[in-house]
């Protein structure tokens, strides 16, 4: 069953149209190359739209003491020093410019009394640092970028899913994709490709991630021969909704705690004071009075433990629930109603007010929320050069969540939106330069396309029997939730490896009804390949790292191990399988080491 395909040619294609993809496309177009922007959904619907709390950038509008150096330090410590230091440095240095640029493109952030961009407190940040718009910052960011991008001569290919990168020798030369509306295949010929596809959270059952987050870019890169790093580090956001069951996992912004909300167990106890790790003890309040004073006076008080980095808070909530001190629906309480006036809550957290009112019949200005951990973000991703966002495959670049390194073992809230802007711009710029230098014609081998098309159509052409793609996806999500969750252990990880292997076999027999035009069953069948690939990578890396650090907690190795603190776990494709290697982190220059203060 062979089929024809349409072909498009661009100097640079960008896969993914969230914050990183849009910013990359804008920058590449500004360099004068032709740009194609490919998005799996409609433009403006990418996962960035769901970001709530804000963009971390050391603007110093609220606390003039803030600077890129403090932001750098906070990011490195939040990631337990496993971060790529150069990425952390560039990120902290360039984030303020990227935020101000959004403002010049029309974004309207909440204001300080003197008319500047207001900044809010968030976990792990020394100063109030997050530029925000209530609790819908991602919407403002994506719409601003989208409205700017549509006037830059970028060709947008909506509802188009990239299934495989194409290569000419060792270089990337384009992508093989399909259009949802008609179900037709599309070949993109390109001199350079930027991956900006986001994360992998749909491999877990309880997740804040949207349907798009099936690890497409991670898998495309792996299959094309690129290195992945840090795939064991998956962030479980401490506060997702837990009730009713159908909304379980939907995000509750850290901004609730940033604006004064506090976590309590079923005894009414602010339990986070019992979970302050040695690593953060010196900078964390040890009494409720000090924690409450800190919001207004950061000079003389230390940060509330409610705003420890996310990995710490998620583990604490997990432990409280396990100890029987949870809420009726298996979460803990997040209380802002007794701490802030109703008007303030509605002004600062309108989406949260709306979300709980409409989906859970809870008025958060009168009653506490019930919250628990939800799979939120993958720190790991494509190994990139810090300055250029280039992967280890010539012509392939990656930015945003799909790239690894910046966040180390745990990302601080607010550092994702700034990551998208800083490294989206860098990836677009360097992809354009690469495309210009490369010049000449791009060749795509038709036989390669024909074989990919045949493979993609298999689920539609199988007749008898066959597996239901939704059932396999569901079983994978339950497996990852149960065996590769917040707390891991060797026996369970091994069980997961076996389960994933069996699901891969079954996925090879998947069958769907209907035709190829806008068929979600077929789409789910195609997504399974990337979803299973990233689930396998994450599990193998988790098995490999025998220590606990950031977003990776091993019950059988509960402590951080300084030796493991010096290496990344690297995954790469070999002979149809995946191999693992431990490779040393880049050396941290002495002048940056000094900024970090006490080490781990």
């Amino acid at each position: 069953m062979a089929r024809d395909w349409e072909t498009h040619e661009h100097d640079v294609i960008v896969v993914g149209a969230g914050g990183a993809g849009l910013r990359a496309a804008i920058e590449a177009a500004a360099q004068g190359v032709s740009v194609g922007l490919i998005c799996k959904s409609l433009l403006g619907k990418a996962h960035t739209v769901m970001a709530e709390g804000g963009i971390a950038a050391a603007l110093g509008n609220v606390w003039p003491e803030d600077s890129w150096r403090v932001h750098f330090r906070d990011t490195m410590r939040g990631g337990k020093m496993l971060n790529n230091w150069r990425m952390a440095q560039l990120h902290a240095q360039e984030a303020p410019d990227r935020v101000l640029e959004l403002e010049r493109w029309g974004a309207l952030f909440d204001r300080t009394k003197d008319g500047r961009i207001l900044q809010r407190d968030f976990g792990g940040h020394r100063y109030a640092r997050l530029a925000h718009v209530g609790d819908r910052t991602g919407l403002e960011m994506i719409r601003t970028l989208q409205d700017h991008a549509v006037h830059q001569g970028i060709d947008v290919h909506m509802e188009t899913t990239v299934l495989r990168l194409l290569k000419d020798g060792d270089r990337v030369c384009g992508a093989f994709a399909y259009r949802r509306d008609r179900g037709d295949f599309v070949v993109f010929r390109a001199k350079a490709v930027v991956l900006a596809t986001g994360g992998i959270g749909k491999a877990w059952a309880i997740t804040s991630n949207s349907w798009e987050y099936t690890g497409d870019g991670h898998s495309l890169a792996l299959w094309a021969g690129a290195d992945l790093i840090d795939m064991e580090f998956v962030q479980f956001h401490p506060t997702g909704m837990v009730w009713p069951p159908s909304v379980r996992g939907i995000l509750v912004t850290e901004g609730v705690r940033g604006d004064g909300g506090t976590l309590k167990n079923n005894q009414g106890e602010r339990f986070m004071f019992r979970y302050v790790p040695e690593y953060f003890r010196a900078e964390t309040a040890d009494t409720e009075a000090e924690a409450d004073r800190w919001y207004a006076d950061k000079t003389n008080n230390r940060r509330t433990p409610d705003l420890l980095p996310r990995d710490e808070v998620a583990r604490a909530i997990n432990a409280e629930v396990k100890a029987g001190r949870g809420t009726p629906h298996g979460g803990v309480f997040l209380d802002i109603c007794t701490r802030r006036p109703a008007d303030y809550i509605k002004k600062r957290l309108p989406s949260m007010y709306h979300q709980f009112k409409e989906l859970a019949d809870v008025d958060i200005t009168k009653d506490p929320m019930e919250v628990g951990p939800t799979c939120h973000y993958v720190m790991g991703g494509v190994r990139v050069d810090a300055d250029s966002a280039a992967s280890t495959v010539p012509g392939l670049f990656a930015a945003g969540e799909v790239a690894g390194g910046l966040h180390g073992s745990n990302r601080l809230g607010g550092n994702s939106l700034s990551d998208l802007l800083v490294f989206g711009r860098r990836a677009g710029f360097h992809a354009a330069l690469y495309a210009k230098d490369r010049g000449g014609q791009v060749k795509v081998e038709p036989s390669q396309v024909e074989s990919l098309a045949r493979e993609a159509l298999e689920p539609l052409s199988r007749r008898a029997g066959g597996e239901n793609p939704y059932a396999i996806q569901h079983e994978l999500q339950e497996t990852m939730q149960r065996l590769v969750g917040i707390i891991r252990t060797e026996s369970e990880l091994r069980e997961a490896v076996g389960a994933i292997e069996r699901l891969k076999e079954r996925a090879g027999r998947v069958r769907v009804d209907g035709g190829s035009a806008y068929n979600p069953g077929w789409h789910t069948a195609l997504d399974l390949r990337s979803l299973l690939a990233v689930a396998e990578c994450s599990t193998l890396a988790a098995l490999e790292r025998r220590e606990s650090r950031g977003g990776h907690t091993r019950e059988d190795y509960p402590k951080a191990d300084p030796e493991w603190g010096k290496v990344n776990v690297v995954l790469r494709r070999k002979d149809g399988g995946v191999t693992l290697a431990r490779e040393p982190l880049p050396d941290l220059p002495a002048e940056l080491q000094k900024l970090l203060g006490e080490s781990s």
């Binding site: 959904s41 409609l42 403006g44 619907k45 990418a46 739209v49 769901m50 101000l100 403002e103 010049r104 493109w105 029309g106 309207l108 909440d110 204001r111 008319g115 500047r116 718009v133 209530g134 819908r136 991602g138 919407l139 403002e140 719409r143 409205d147 549509v150 006037h151 947008v156 909506m158 509306d181 949207s210 349907w211 798009e212 009730w243 009713p244 069951p245 159908s246 909304v247 939907i250 995000l251 989406s351 709306h354 979300q355 409409e358 989906l359 859970a360 239901n468 793609p469 939704y470 569901h474 769907v512 009804d513 209907g514 035709g515 035009a517 806008y518 068929n519 979600p520 069953g521 077929w522």
Partner: protein, 252 residues
């Protein structure tokens, strides 16, 4: 909760009709949950567009019992026991399949809106804006582009005047630029002529269906109409324009 009957439109532009399905439900479900369960168990190729399932992306727009709504923000407990729930695609846009429509009309309209033309910064290079000066525009920026307002607007829905009419979503987009403290572009002529603001006769249907509760008519469309009237019907401005030689052509 017991099983419910979903009456779902199945088909494409060539042929189609409603089909009934019985689907099990659980407490707390929204309509999109029930659609997903139907898809996973009985109708694997049922086309539905969705992304976030949290009311933030505006993808899952459809008509539920004839009313334009988001599938993900419509709770099942809104319906009476035993009530059949009818799901149809948005009627104003060309059908692709089942519950999915081709909304590219809206993306074309978006491209026609000239981008912000930035004013000069303060002496220190920054831009100062007071919160009270942007409150109104921030309300417009809550728009999640679900296009339910476009779907319900009778100018788009029932008349073949799409080319000369931007629709409520883009009226509030234009309003947000027109009121933006940093934008220097004169948009009134474009709002009147290219966007066709005059065709709106303020029935407020758009405001009623907005899932973000934006006061589209009162805070967006009516103030824009007043600005158009001020510029085009004020005799003093009219005379000045005659002397100057007509309004500026809208630049891109």
């Amino acid at each position: 909760m017991p099983a419910v009957t979903l009456r779902v439109f199945r088909g494409d532009a060539a042929a189609g009709g409603f089909r009934d399905y019985r689907v099990e439900t659980e407490p707390g479900m929204v309509v999109l949950d029930v659609v997903h369960r139907l898809q996973a168990t009985q109708a694997t190729d049922l086309a539905v567009r969705w992304n976030c399932k949290a009311g933030k992306c505006g993808s899952c727009s459809a008509e539920i019992n004839g009313v334009p709504r988001l599938l993900c923000m419509t709770r099942m407990n809104l319906f009476a026991d035993g009530e059949t729930i009818t799901l149809a695609p948005m009627r104003a846009f060309p059908l692709i399949r089942d519950l999915v429509t081709d909304v590219s009309f809206n993306y074309e309209k978006a491209k026609q809106i000239a981008p912000l033309r930035l004013r000069a910064p303060e002496a220190d290079g920054s831009y100062r804006m007071m919160q009270e000066d942007i409150d109104r525009i921030q309300e417009f920026h809550k728009c999640i582009e679900c296009f339910l307002c476009q779907d319900v607007c009778h100018v788009i829905r029932d008349h073949d005047t799409k080319r000369a009419f931007a629709g409520p979503r883009f009226f509030i987009k234009l309003a947000s630029l027109e009121m933006h403290p940093l934008d220097t572009r004169d948009r009134i002529d474009a709002i009147r002529r290219e966007a066709g603001l005059g065709l709106c006769n303020i029935t407020k249907c758009c405001t009623e269906v907005c899932p973000e509760h934006i006061h589209i008519t009162d805070n967006g469309i009516i103030p824009l109409k007043e600005r158009v009237v001020d510029e085009f019907c004020d005799p003093v401005i009219w005379l000045l324009r005659k002397l100057r030689g007509g309004p500026e052509a809208p630049a891109s």
